[in-house]
Amino acid sequence: MEATLAIGIGVFAGSGIWLVLRPRTYQVIIGLALLSYAVNLFIFGMGRLRTGVPPILQPGTMGDPAQYADPLPQALVLTAIVIGFATTALFLVLLLAARGLTDTDHVDGREE
């Protein structure tokens, strides 16, 4: 499971970096999205991968922490997803504005 996740993160991050370095704004935004997937999976992985264990204690019990998944990275991932989504949306608006103002989708606002 670890190897699958690691390869997945690597593929996401690699494709993301390649796309971010491309000259078209659409490629850049897709690259940023892929990179944020990689980062989110990475955060999730930092909580150690375990299947079939709950992250929250039952009310009124004093459970053994070893029997539970780490809830903190899951909370961090949620926050990171929301923030990443919002900032990507913001960038999308700018991208459209740049397209309208400069008549090109090049990241420098001009061809060449």
Partner: protein
């Protein structure tokens, strides 16, 4: 200490956030209401920041010199804490001062250039204040994003192709830096099991040797994210363009944004990798030192090469960041206190300069600077005709005289010449480097030479620009400057004069600040005090 006073710490975050959200409810036509509310908020923030500054000036580790605010009253390593010590208080005050100046400046005309200016401005303040106050790494990320999201909007304020083009570079660079930030934070959590800065300072000395490499990798990735924001060479190419494209009040406010990166590095470097950090002590110090020096060199070359004043100011931001980072990298407490003083003085100066440029540029044609440089090199074919006008008895208009006076002030501050605070700041750093115990290493001499050369470069560039723009008679129409716009510029410069006049007190405060930074374990004890220790919290 009453509980009500304790709540003062959370005000710099909550107040602008709440007022900024509230202002969204109103239409853009209710401008007077928005102006009144935002002015009231910013000046209240200034009052609160000064209050925190006074409160933090207690004897170290005595009666609550470090103010700790537990959000939701959760104990420290579990919940998020806000920590207001001297360093945070200095940064809060600096932010509030700049905010007051730039907001008043914006009221003259710029706030009408686009929608939702006040909300974005207040959100930027909330993000900045939060980043300076928080004692938790992930919370720091959230406040960074609040600040950046507001800055994305502000950089586009006034619209126009140049701003959109600059934003097209600024936003992806910062999104990538945020991705690195997250990777670093989660790695640190994976290794140490905590994100609380004070708790981290405690746990890092005890990290197992096989995990130490992971920890250092995490710190390096995190450091890159902050260095991008601070504008360290070679991560700084976005900065001068963006700052030059943003409208004047926004650029003046951005002068503090690059200092957020510097602040976080200063705090985390000494807290996590201080002398107590075991095998990792001093990790990354060399990178800061040489990176800072490279930034100073690059910034100085940029300052000399700039044809427009806005780019000159942008490169001055780099020189200022680089100087502080190099001083942090020396690990010398006296140099750090000097660089804190330098940071305050140079940020005020750069901010005043950004505002001033807009006033000066107003009377000039676009592209006049480029033309002027070309003329200097190739000569002006019409030069003979110009000199026939009688120059004797040419009165300098009051507006030009005011602008020129402020320009001279900025020059003295940026070049570090006496009698203003820029000189004291540079002198403090240089004397700390020379008076360091033992033989002064060659690298310190290189830094000393670089700092002096940077001052010279700033002096040459500023003098050249000043002569071209303000001294040459009859070139420009008299700019239409309103008193409302001149007041903030003068106020910022007067503050720098105040920093000179009360230089002794200011330096004493900075020295106390730097000393506290060298005792991370005491800091950790103070922050985690009154919180029960959790058994078996480590992994």
């Amino acid at each position: 200490m009453t509980p009500l006073v304790d709540h003062l710490i959370v005000v710099p975050v909550l107040l602008p956030l709440a007022v900024g959200a509230f202002l969204l409810l109103f239409d853009e036509r209710r401008r007077s209401l928005k102006v009144a509310l935002s002015l009231a908020t910013t000046f209240t923030l200034l009052g609160v920041a000064v209050g925190l500054l006074m409160r933090a000036d207690a004897p170290p580790f005595g009666a609550g010199a470090i103010g700790v605010y537990r959000l939701g009253n959760w104990p420290a390593p579990v919940g998020i804490v806000l920590v207001a010590d001297r360093l945070s208080a200095i940064m809060l005050t600096l932010t509030a001062v700049l905010a007051c100046a730039t907001l008043v400046f914006a009221l003259a005309r710029w706030h009408r250039a686009g929608p939702r200016f006040y909300t974005l401005f207040l959100m930027l303040l909330a993000g900045l204040n939060g980043a300076f106050l928080t004692g938790d790494l992930f919370n720091l990320f959230v406040f960074f994003e609040v600040m950046l999201a507001a800055s994305y909007g502000l950089v586009l304020h006034g619209s126009g192709t140049a701003r959109v083009k600059a934003g097209l570079h600024y936003i992806p660079v910062n999104l990538l830096a945020s991705a690195l930030f997250l990777v670093g934070v989660s790695l640190i959590y994976g290794v140490t099991g905590t994100l609380n800065m004070a708790e981290l300072a405690r746990r890092i000395p005890a990290v197992a040797p096989e995990n130490r490499m992971l920890l250092e990798a995490a710190a390096a990735i995190l450091g890159i994210a902050f260095l991008v924001k601070a504008g360290v060479w070679p991560l700084c190419f976005w900065l001068p363009t963006t700052y030059a494209a943003a409208c004047a009040p926004v650029a003046a406010m951005f002068a503090i944004m690059s200092k957020v990166g510097v602040y976080v590095i200063l705090r985390l470097f000494l807290l996590l990798f201080g002398e107590d950090a075991g095998a990792s002590a001093g990790f990354g110090g060399n990178v800061l030192f040489y990176g800072g020096m490279a930034t100073v060199a690059f910034g100085s070359i940029g300052v000399l090469a700039s044809q427009s004043m806005l780019r000159l100011a942008g490169y001055s931001v780099l020189v200022s960041s680089g100087t502080v980072l190099a001083a942090i990298g020396t690990g010398n407490s006296a140099a750090i206190s000097g660089s804190l003083y330098y940071m305050v003085s140079s940020t005020l100066a750069i901010s005043a300069f950004f505002l001033l440029i807009e006033l000066i540029e107003r009377g000039r044609d676009a592209g006049a600077d480029v033309l002027a440089v070309t003329l200097e090199i190739f000569g002006d074919p019409e030069e003979d005709g110009l000199h026939e006008e009688a120059e004797i008895g040419l009165a300098i208009p009051a507006a030009i005289a005011m602008l020129a006076g402020a320009f001279v002030g900025c020059t003295l501050l940026l070049a570090g010449l006496p009698p203003l605070s820029g000189f004291i700041a540079k002198f403090a750093i240089l004397s700390a480097l020379i008076n360091a115990a033992g033989i002064v290493p060659a690298s310190s001499w290189v830094l000393i030479a670089l700092l002096l050369l940077a001052g010279l470069a700033a002096l040459i560039a500023m003098t050249r620009t000043g002569i071209r723009v303000l001294w040459v008679p009859g070139e420009a129409a008299i700019p239409n400057v309103r008193a409302l716009e001149m007041v903030p510029v003068v106020a910022l410069l007067v503050l720098c004069i105040g920093l000179t006049g009360f230089g002794g007190d200011a330096m004493r405060y900075m020295e106390a600040t730097a000393q506290v930074l060298y005792w991370p374990q005491e800091y950790a004890r103070e922050v985690l005090a009154a919180s029960p220790q959790l058994p078996g919290a480590g992994r």
